[in-house]
Symmetry: C2
Subunit: 221 residues, 2 copies
């Protein structure tokens, strides 16, 4: 099965790499990542928008979603705004906006909103306290629930409850699966590589005593 | 930008959904996910292999990687084996093995190894205590570091240090970026949908005072 010549790095090799080289390499190892824009505002209604590539499913009952934040990086306004207001939005990124989404990672002064700087549109829905990204096709309004300190490297796992979700009606399947590929959601790898996807298959629930088969998508009409 | 008619679910709507429907829906919301096979063995050398779709980059210095485990699900052998031996492997999944990878999620009796049941090959390297998946192109040997209890829904964030990494030499770029798409790594969405990828672009480091451009891949010869 191995078609390439294989190379090996030990922990010592990894620690000996130049810092940015190591960051790029190790960020590639966690596979394709969820990438999304997180929208917040502070108590003075100053908006902030930042790209995160560390979204993670926490649980469905209740519906909880998490992301990893680095206290001392560009996402510091996101974290402080969430602590200040208790609310934020998570917005999927599609092919039409991935360059603008990446640009939100630049270090803008606090009084400049990344919405304005990147020409993305702040959208307020149903009185929700944080701004959604109008150009995103899957948008969630999140209520902060728990902040967990990861002592090993001083990062923070932020967990929130999904209070609102907006999605394209024609992407919902009859078993609850939301076809995010049809909704044009993209993925990323490493620190700066963006990818669209092509479905191989949905598979049926695995059981020990039977072979797998391909599951139908079954969109709701 | 909105080409589809939009639909809305509130938190109350989500909580009112049938359990499996909600699980399928909410698992779709976290975007495309890292999916990998985690290989372990217990102190009696009984091997275990399980698919996880919750891999997460924790940090590059030192190189740490995490995943979310549900204590009462099929991954329970993985977690108990990690606690018993302190070591595990994380193996990327490619198109040739995604059905076998999915099949590891079936509930096999403890005395049956998922390696045997799914016809994947346990590979031992450099005396590492846990088995790698021979058919995987990017393989990591991990040393357990920290287990963090997520109280909100009784899940566990398991964090480990990357002690060994094996990868295809022709997928490494000259700035440390590892081209996992070239290495045929796939991604997943929801609970059962598998996808290959197509790169849109690598983008340059974002700065507030300049426009983005496309970064070159620059493979090492």
């Amino acid at each position: 099965m191995e078609t390439h010549s294989q190379r090996y790095f030990s922990f010592v090799d990894l620690m000996g790499l130049e810092q940015r080289y190591r960051a790029s390499f190790v960020n590639s190892l966690s596979g394709f990542k969820s990438v999304a824009l997180i929208g917040t505002s502070n108590s003075s209604k100053q908006t902030n928008l930042a790209i995160f590539n560390s979204l993670i499913h926490i649980g469905a009952n209740p519906p909880y979603i998490g992301f990893i934040s680095r206290p001392d990086s560009v996402d510091r306004h996101t974290l402080s705004n969430i602590m200040e207001t208790g609310y934020y939005t998570i917005n999927h990124i599609n092919e039409a906006i991935f360059k603008q989404a990446h640009q939100t990672s630049a270090r803008y002064p606090r009084d400049i909103s990344e919405f304005d700087a990147t020409h993305l549109t702040a959208d307020y829905k149903l009185g929700f306290k944080a701004p959604f990204v109008k150009e995103s096709f899957i948008q969630m309004g999140i209520q902060f629930k728990e902040r967990i300190h990861i002592t090993t490297n001083n990062t923070v796992l932020v967990i929130g409850q999904i209070n609102q979700v907006y999605f394209p009606n024609d992407c919902l399947c009859n078993d609850g699966f939301l076809d995010i590929e049809k909704a044009k959601t993209i993925t990323c790898s490493g620190l700066d590589s963006y990818h669209k996807t092509e479905r191989l298959a949905r598979l049926t629930y695995a059981k020990a005593d039977r072979d797998l088969s391909i599951a139908k998508l079954g969109y709701i009409e």
